[in-house]
């Protein structure tokens, strides 16, 4: 529809500049011819619809497609009847306590569903809040690290898997604890051979860098060293780093400290200056491809690009705060953190004993591990690769 006001304006143009008349005429004629052609096509289509010719054309095309489909079915019927079933990848979720008790739950990687409750531990065992969680491939080799500096290497498969329906600490695998020592961490070490260095990190943010070749000797001797300078301190994590990797430390109060692994000392040194009540929750290596996820005790999953990280200029610095002062004052604390790819999965252990798995991509979209009205909080959080 062309309103008459518009036609008046065209006429006005011709009155003001008669030289515009042929141009306008040409444009309108060209449009008319275009519309006439379109009109003819539509009329022809209408006749085809009215006479049923179009319906016949479609019916013939559908019959042809059905025939082709049938032929394809026959051609591939053998393959369809007997599809080759690849061996499923198995993932192990290990929940352990300082007394050396370990419960292993085995899950099929191809059956994982986002935001699914895997199991629920008896409340009494969770109440202490000192349980830790590790999720890794069932093919992994594990290193048990005790606060005395003693280590034990063990394949995951040697720890018996328990029934997820009714996990019972009575059936837990028990790694012997000597005297007053405590189990402080279990670390997968299959990546060790691909790394250049291993960094031992303590709860009070002391770090010790160990060359990969020396670490093998340490493991063979069942002793890695306490990795601490203060008596009350304990090892909390090992991180395997490549030559260009960054070491990232994340503290309970939400301070994130990061440095190139190559700049770390081989002697035990205080890396991050923590406040008196703060301690390291986790340490890991990061590369430019990965990004960072931090999970708070209240269940928030905070995603940060690697560019958010600020490289520390020197040791004994506080790191970059993740929370505002108000949030910290309100009691927000970190439960876990990791360097991730969006295709990874995550597992979280809650204070009510529930253990759930999440697809990280969906988790980051949702932003939270817990429903809004949840009374529980997150005890520990672990990530594992899609092909774990």
């Amino acid at each position: 529809m062309i309103p008459s006001q518009k036609i008046d304006e065209w006429v006005r143009e011709v009155e003001e500049r008669p030289s515009s008349a042929p141009v306008i005429l040409r444009f309108i004629a060209s449009r008319l011819s275009e519309l006439a052609q379109r009109n003819e096509e539509l009329l022809a289509e209408n006749i085809e619809l009215q006479t049923g010719q179009k319906v016949e054309q479609y019916e013939s095309r559908i019959a042809n497609l059905e025939y082709q489909l049938e032929m394809l079915k026959r051609q591939f019927s053998q393959n369809l009847l007997a599809p080759a079933e690849p061996a499923a990848e198995m993932v192990s979720a290990l929940v352990y306590n300082p007394q050396g008790q370990v419960l292993r739950l085995e899950l099929r990687a191809d059956e994982l569903v986002h935001n699914t409750l895997i199991t629920s531990f008896p409340d009494s065992a969770v109440a202490g809040g000192r349980l830790r969680l590790l999720a890794t491939s069932s093919q992994e080799e594990l290193l048990f690290i005790f606060d005395s500096g003693r280590t034990v290497a063990l394949p995951v498969a040697e720890i018996p898997a328990v029934d997820p329906g009714a996990p019972d600490w009575q059936q837990a695998y028990l790694q012997d604890v000597h005297g007053l020592e405590e189990l402080v961490a279990i670390q997968p070490i299959a990546r060790m051979a691909l790394s250049e260095t291993c960094v031992q990190v303590s709860r009070r943010a002391f770090v010790k860098k160990i060359k990969e070749s020396f670490l093998e000797t340490y493991i063979a001797n069942n002793y890695i060293g306490t990795g601490v300078k203060l008596q009350a301190d304990k090892t909390c994590s090992l991180a395997f780093c490549g030559p260009d990797d960054l070491l990232v430390l994340v503290s309970k109060e939400g301070y994130v400290w990061c440095i190139e692994a190559s700049r770390l000392p081989f002697m035990i040194e205080e890396a991050q200056r923590l406040r008196s009540m703060d301690h390291i929750i986790t340490a890991f290596s990061a590369n430019p491809q990965s990004s960072l996820v931090v999970v708070t005790r209240s269940g928030k999953a905070v995603h940060r690009d690697n560019s958010w990280l600020e490289l520390a200029i020197s040791l004994k610095t506080q790191g970059k705060p993740l929370f505002s002062r108000e949030r910290r004052a309100a009691g927000d604390q970190v439960a876990g953190a990791a360097a991730i790819n969006e295709n990874d999965w995550a597992a979280a252990l809650r204070s009510d004993g529930a253990l759930a798995v999440y697809k990280l991509r969906d988790l980051l979209g949702a932003g939270s591990l817990l429903p809004g009205n949840a009374s529980a909080h997150i005890l520990d959080f672990a990530t594992f690769g899609a092909q774990a």
Partner: protein
């Protein structure tokens, strides 16, 4: 010796030039463009934060985006802390993100400098401030120029409009942002020069005796006027400078508002506030790409289903969700440019569900920009009064920039000064060339 260049960072087009003391060399910075010495001020940022500019950016955008698939996911982007008298609580913020979006095209970046509210934009997971956007563009420009010259460029003379803003504080802020962007792009020494002054310096090369010259620099983003005494480099004098933030992009907007919105439902959906809001956004190049959300699509689909202006709203849906905004704005701009040579042109766009045909005449255009014309003439007369010169004392009027070729403004200049005193300088490159001369002069003074 450090190499110094002149860069005209324009609203629609940019350029780079060097001066060797005798001859200005405009660099063929965009070999894919019809005029290689002019590069479109367009920036395309891919998902992996790779930056491309000019025609390459546009072609990459088309290749990546037109008629592509979309998949929206709800993404948590952060929290807002609310503080009341006795309470404090945190609220989650979510946005719908098209996770298949391969990149984002930005144009008219320079207008961000004069926009008070615009601080920057989120591109995928990264926030680009205005300075970051300009720096990304200038850096790509610098790299291309270095490749052509075969050496590193450390110094730059950048053009700036006479007024980014009439508010002195905002004007200073815009200048600081531009300067910061240039440093961010890797230049070690940055100086700024008024764009019309630069155009005057270029014009001065053709003078054999001193003259009072009025430069009418009218481009895509601003109109800048300077009245100067030229012809003797020792006695150069700026009598007055003036300007206004009206130019080509405002005219495009006026055309869209007056002529194009009915093609997308204006006049048929005016009583539906949600729909008319969508339709009106078509005129806003910054906001239009952000309309591609599941909610907007649902709103449009529902309206089409219940028979509200189905053909127009289908066209609007196609414009938004097939990433046709850039094609649309280009069609409008091309038609406007054509009106400088002819009395009528057609704004034409054919795509899925869009068959847009609008015969547009010079009479209609002049009617659409009548309000702007009056303001521009008033700024021009004010600048002449401020110079203390009579119009007769102005020996030459030099017009430069794409919009200065719009017949209504050529006629205005002819009427005020007489056609014999009005000269055309190189439409897109006189500012660039003048900036190169300034860069050379500064290095040798």
């Amino acid at each position: 010796m450090t190499l110094s260049v002149g860069i005209d960072f324009g609203t629609s087009n940019s350029g780079v030039a060097v001066f060797d003391g005798a001859r200005v060399r405009l660099l063929p910075i965009d070999d894919q463009n019809v005029v290689p010495e002019v590069v479109k001020t367009t920036l395309y940022i891919t998902k992996d934060f790779h930056h491309t500019i000019g025609q390459e950016a546009i072609e990459l955008y088309y290749r990546h985006n037109v008629n592509r698939l979309r998949r929206f996911v709800k993404k948590w982007v952060g929290e807002i802390d609310f503080r009341g008298a006795e309470m404090f609580y945190v609220r989650d913020v979510y946005v719908y993100v098209d996770e298949l979006k391969p990149g984002r095209l930005l144009q008219y970046i320079k207008t961000a400098l004069r926009s008070q509210g615009y601080q920057g934009t989120q591109v995928f997971d990264r926030y680009y401030t205005t300075a970051d956007l300009i720096a990304a563009y200038l850096q790509a420009l610098k790299q291309r120029a270095e490749k052509l010259l075969g050496e590193e460029i450390s110094q730059v003379t950048l053009g700036r409009p006479v007024y980014f803003s009439t508010d002195a504080e905002q004007d200073q802020k815009a200048e600081d942002t531009l300067r910061q962007a240039a440093y961010q792009a890797g230049f070690q020494k940055v100086q700024l020069e008024f764009e019309p002054v630069a155009a005057a310096l270029f014009y001065e090369q053709s003078l054999d005796r001193p003259k009072n010259v009025l430069v009418f620099d009218f481009g895509g983003g601003t109109l800048d006027i300077t009245i100067m005494s030229l012809g003797d480099s020792r006695r150069r004098k700026v009598y007055s400078s003036g300007g206004i933030g009206i130019a080509g992009s405002d005219f495009d907007r006026a055309i869209i508002e007056n002529r194009m919105l009915p093609h997308f439902g204006k006049g048929q959906v005016d009583d539906n506030l949600e729909l008319i809001e969508l339709v009106n956004t078509v005129a806003d190049w910054i906001a239009l790409p952000d309309l591609s959300t599941p909610q907007a699509r649902m709103r449009l689909k529902h309206a089409i289903q219940v028979g509200i202006a189905p053909v127009r709203l289908k066209a609007l849906e196609s414009l938004i969700f097939n990433d046709l905004a850039f094609t649309f704005y280009n069609a409008v701009e091309a038609s406007k440019i054509a009106l400088s040579d002819t009395g009528a042109s057609v704004i034409r766009m054919q795509a899925q569900d869009i068959d847009l045909w609008e015969l547009y005449t010079r009479h209609q255009f002049e009617r659409d920009i009548r309000e702007y014309q009056a303001r521009i003439e008033s700024v021009l007369l004010d600048t002449i009064i401020q110079s203390g010169l009579e119009t007769e004392q102005i020996d030459a009027v030099v017009k430069t920039g794409g919009s200065s070729y719009i017949p209504a403004f050529s006629e205005m200049l002819n009427r005020l000064f007489g056609p014999e005193r009005v000269h055309s300088s190189n439409m897109f490159s006189s500012v660039t060339a003048g900036l190169a001369i300034k860069a050379y002069d500064s290095g040798h003074s």
